[in-house]
Symmetry: C2
């Protein structure tokens, strides 16, 4: 089905090299892997001869079969790789993971829970461990993974596996409480992936929200609602929109619809479930000549760099995604206890909602 990556010309193996040198295969192996197991002189000879003959070291495929370990850790991403690689939060998580793996001699294999159908099944199970990021449409990918391999879930839960989270509900509560301290005339909420069936626009009565515990965005909504109630605002009276994908392109039409409402209907405070959403509001508001924060106040969630290295700076709540990645990686490598972890977030007061 797939064309071979290349026709491989004759290749020299460890055995060939041993024969060539008149030593045992064990000595050649030791020359590369256990310097203390042979004389420096012999090792020198083996290594230089290897270089001369174009032998670049033991084959990793054979080594991993023999030792049972590949030194590869897989990250399974709920979204497509294309999306994840361009998302600031996912990128930071990956950076945190990569940092720890690198220091401990492991490498990072990227997999997606939304892979193409032609995806060779089982190619994932080469990895020694798995970090699974976010709720995926189907847990089928996880079935290909041998049950004994370590696995940790990030930002969602897998039955009987450790997980790493942030304190979504208190974090949302904190930012909403700050925003509501200045009473808004018309607050609004822009959710992220919160409906059972796809909805990119206003959430009307016909939509059902995902169940609590299924998604972190449900916890974020709970935090918003708690703050609203505390201010004597009935959450049921606050209009909600939903965004299907955390990108400018997908956010823009929904936000344009909101901002283009008549002055007396347009929200003057928008609580957004991500910085990407909030930043899109800022950009489209500026394009329309709406003043931030005078005409419309905006809050985000995540604390990504793009929201801080600009003007006006985003008011948001910062989660340390890099640290989330580090912790997940340490758990997988057995350097940290495999337990459920919840990281704290930090309220950032920017200019979009002073």
């Amino acid at each position: 089905m797939e064309p071979p990556v290349s026709a491989v010309p004759p290749r020299i193996t460890l055995k060939d090299l041993a024969r060539e040198l008149g030593v045992s295969t064990a000595s050649v192996s030791n020359a590369f892997n256990r310097p203390d197991q042979l004389s420096p002189k012999l090792r020198e000879r083996i290594l230089s001869e290897a270089q001369r003959l174009g032998y670049s070291g033991p084959d990793a495929k054979a080594r991993s079969l023999r030792t049972g370990r590949s030194r590869i850790i897989a990250v399974v991403l709920a979204e497509t790789l294309t999306y994840s690689l361009n998302d600031a939060v996912a990128s930071e998580l990956l950076a945190g993971i990569a940092e720890v793996l690198d220091v401990h001699g492991h490498t990072l294999l990227l997999l997606s829970g939304r892979q193409h159908v032609s995806q060779a099944p089982g190619s994932a199970n080469i990895a020694d461990g798995f970090i699974v990021y976010g709720l995926m449409p189907s847990l089928k990918v996880l079935n290909d993974i041998p049950a004994q391999r370590p696995m940790v879930a990030v930002d969602f839960n897998i039955q009987s596996r450790p997980s790493v989270h942030v304190d979504n509900e208190p974090a949302s509560y904190a930012v909403a409480r700050h925003a509501l301290a200045t009473p808004p005339k018309r607050p609004g909420i822009i959710n992220l992936r919160l409906t059972e069936s796809p909805c990119n626009g206003k959430i009307t009565a016909e939509y059902t929200l995902l169940a609590a515990g299924q998604t972190i965005t449900r916890s974020r909504l709970a935090g918003f609602h708690r703050a609203l109630e505390e201010q004597g605002i009935d959450p049921a009276t606050v209009p909600m929109w939903n965004i299907e994908e955390n990108t400018f392109e997908v956010c823009a039409p929904v936000i344009a619809e909101i901002l283009d409402l008549p002055d007396d209907q347009r929200p003057d405070l928008l609580l957004c479930m991500s910085d990407r959403i909030a930043l899109t509001v800022v950009t489209l508001a500026e394009q329309r000549g709406l003043r931030v924060p005078q005409d419309i106040r905006i809050t985000g969630f995540d604390g990504i760099a793009e929201g801080q290295y600009r003007s006006p700076r985003l008011t948001t709540v910062r989660q340390d995604s890099v640290e989330k990645g580090r912790i997940a990686a340490r758990m997988i490598l057995g350097l940290a206890p495999r337990e459920n972890r919840q990281l704290l977030t930090e309220l950032i007061l920017g200019e979009t909602c002073p």
Copy 2:
């Protein structure tokens, strides 16, 4: 040295399953890999029994040794993974690569040319092919790669290997020419990684630039210079600064230094070698109450989303990094001829330099 990832409990193998079912190992293998080689009925029985006994399919380590292919393609990044994952251009490249690999049943292994010393040598050679991105401090990593494996270079050159580039010189010329059509009083250039020894600030006489052909930024400078000369401006009279890493944090102090020059010395046009640099100029200029483009005009290079989904939009030249990744991936998979490619760029007229 490194602790094992986990103590693996007893595990069932293909052989065990075959014995259990009273069939040959070939049939079990075929049930998973070649459905046409056995009766649907037997296949059904094997698959269901496998599930019941917790056999999740053939082990990828053994399979890859046996077949000689891992279906893994490695991307070797010149920068650290932490940097690369958070850089828009590198992320787009990776996204383009991942897109093609995914469709063709391959997965993506991330490696860095600046790995930690403890990095297990040779663990890279599990990959079937290598995409090498950017000039790295040392090509040592590449030595561990068997010579027969396909390899393609992106944004730099490796002896006798195909490469993928964009038209850096003409692209820079185009954007500079556009900018210089409105004659500046005091043009300036902000370079990226262009000096032999590290320099984060003004490039003075004591610094030597990297040789032409060594780095793409040298080609970009050539484009700027050609446009300057064409306008009768001697490039030697145009002040140049250098940035060591394409991040806000590293750019900011250099740019602050430039913007804080007295009014009669501050450049009124800055030609920047990346959008990240240009965006940092915009942000810091806004913070200082400088008007863009009235007080200072700014051009970038790359065409990243962040520069376009904001106001003022960046004037820049767009390179299709996603496509660069797609092409490199197709070459590696043997789906496109292994030859040198140069992609065209597109001038984008934004508001930072109308």
